[in-house]
């Protein structure tokens, strides 16, 4: 609503053209500026990480005694060698990230806020709300146990090796 009370004048082709050019200019500017901003924001998404690889060997099957639970400290995970096979559980508490401790036969307990977990990672008592992830573990062509922290597997998964 404009302040003018006059009726709309007849459409003026010159005016239409000017309006179009103005819109073109505005569109170009908005597109360009938005594009630049998008490029700037895209550039801050890292392409490479200066972090240890997320898929790594943890040793040979023979390095883990049968029935043992081994804490691989530099990778923050536990490797279980059960009669049914191997599996790997993250040691990072799903509540706020402390390292959980393993208690023989009784699962895991987190020293920071008291969360407890079963042997296969399911939550027994909070405040943690999600189970400890079980990382995908496989046997490489050269006979090493390889853990892939980018993928998780179900609680029944065991690797025969």
């Amino acid at each position: 609503m404009t302040l003018d009370a006059q009726p709309e004048p007849a459409p003026d082709p010159a005016l239409e053209r000017r309006r179009f050019v103005a819109k073109l200019g505005a569109a170009g500017f908005v597109a360009g500026a938005a594009g630049l901003l998008a490029a700037l924001l895209r550039s801050v998404v890292p392409e490479v990480l200066y972090e240890p690889a997320r898929r790594f060997p943890v040793g040979r099957p023979a390095d883990f005694a049968p029935g043992s639970v081994t804490f691989v400290s530099e990778r923050r995970l536990f490797v279980f060698n059960t009669p049914g096979g191997f599996y790997a559980v993250s040691a990072v508490c799903t509540h706020l990230g402390c390292n959980v401790n393993h208690e023989e036969g009784r699962g895991f307990a987190c020293p920071c806020h008291g969360s407890t977990f079963e042997e296969d990672g399911r939550v027994r008592k909070g405040p943690a709300a999600w189970p400890l992830p079980r990382f995908a573990i496989s046997l490489s062509r050269r006979g090493e146990l390889v853990v892939d922290t980018r993928r998780t597997v179900g609680p029944e998964f065991r690797l025969k090796a």
């Binding site: 360009g32 630049l36 490029a39 895209r42 550039s43 998404v45 490479v48």
Partner: protein, 372 residues
């Protein structure tokens, strides 16, 4: 929704004259403008928009610089590696780096041209003396920003250029060596120097620049807007849209120029800085090559005397030249001598810079660039 929008933007999109006037006053960004401007000011041929261009270049440099800061590491080995990361492993990394470098070189050139414009139109005369002084400060800040940034890639080009530049500082009488020691955080260019240059380049100097720019723009307003000849038309038009539209246009032009330069030309990256091997010749950044040429004739002469004399002359200029005739006009007849003198000095600077860039080869011997 309308309520939410109106709580942010008090006036609507300015359509009426009233709104246009208010738009200037009710916006933080826009209120640096007056509500109305003289039409004379809008003519591109008067100011060439140089001050505006340098401001926008500074804004672009801040934006690209911030993004670059997320990847750059100010420690000797890591700095060079982070430059390679930017070139190879960051999406738009090379684009960012190129934009930053060419905008930086552009800003040094444009600031210099802006200085020339202000001189040739006599726009430093009363009441604008102090604003000229602030402007000289901005020029020095621009040079300092470019100089501190030059070291950051930590390649052979950067390292030796800064070696030459900081060695000139040491020639200053009395305090020269101590100044150099403070600047470098030691006796050599190493870890400490890089960190100091980084902090200067990213924090101290930009803050100082922002402060002086704010002051500079505020003084423009307080001094009665841009200068104009006494016979100029007194007709005024609203800043919105006439001034703001043109400024937007200049912004877009600057962005286009920076983008195209960034896409066409890659910023150089030579081998990693090596203390044991000086390239021959080792040249300062281009804006100091005139100085380096003069230093060739005499260290004190070229490194201390001439720059100091120039800066002092610039600072004292508006207080020495009180003749108020010839303001607001390019190459006013009344200011023939002053203009000629300035032009001569400016030309001399350009000539020695050109000599230093193209006509000096290994051991700073004379070479003819086209006779290869």
């Amino acid at each position: 929704m309308n309520r939410v929008l109106r709580s942010v933007f008090r006036t609507g999109w300015p359509a009426t004259k009233q709104q246009r006037l208010q738009a200037m006053l009710s916006s933080l960004v826009l209120h640096v403008h007056p509500t109305r401007v003289r039409v004379h000011v809008l003519r591109p041929s008067y100011t060439l928009g140089l001050g505006l261009v340098s401001f926008f270049l500074f804004a672009s440099l801040t934006a690209t610089g911030l993004a670059l800061m997320l990847y750059y590491v100010p420690h000797p080995q890591a700095a060079y590696r982070s430059m390679k990361d930017l070139e190879y492993a960051v999406t738009f990394g090379m684009f960012l780096r190129n934009s930053h470098r060419w905008a930086a070189h552009g800003m040094v050139a444009v600031v210099f041209l802006h200085l020339c414009r202000v001189f040739f139109t006599g726009s430093y005369k009363p009441p604008r003396e102090f604003n000229w002084v602030i402007g000289v400060g901005l020029l020095l800040l621009t040079l300092a920003l470019s100089f501190t940034g030059y070291l950051l890639p930590w390649d052979q080009l950067a390292f030796w250029a800064i070696t030459v530049g900081t060695s000139i500082v040491a020639y200053f009488p009395l305090l020269g060596p101590q100044l150099r020691y403070l600047l470098l955080g030691g006796h050599e260019i190493g870890q400490a120097a890089l960190l100091r240059f980084y902090v200067l380049h990213c924090v101290v100097l930009p803050l100082a620049m922002a402060l002086l720019v704010a002051l500079h723009l505020w003084r423009v307003r307080k001094d009665g807007g841009l200068s104009a000849p006494p016979h100029a038309s007194q007709r005024r038009v609203t800043a919105w849209p006439h001034l703001v539209f043109r400024e937007l246009g200049v912004l877009v032009l600057v962005l286009v120029a920076v983008n195209v330069a960034a896409l066409l030309f890659d910023a150089p990256l030579e081998e990693i800085a090596d203390l044991a091997r000086t390239p021959n010749p080792a040249k300062a950044p281009w804006y100091f090559l005139g100085l380096q040429e003069l230093v060739h004739y005499g260290a004190i002469f070229g490194g201390v005397a001439v720059p100091t004399a120039l800066v002092i002359a610039l600072l004292l200029l508006p207080y020495l030249d009180t003749d108020t005739r010839g303001v607001g006009v390019w190459f006013a007849r009344e200011r023939r001598t002053a203009n000629a003198l300035f032009a001569a000095v400016a030309l001399a600077l350009v000539v020695v810079t050109v000599i230093g860039t193209f006509f000096r080869g290994p051991n700073w011997a004379w070479v003819v660039p086209w006779a290869r």
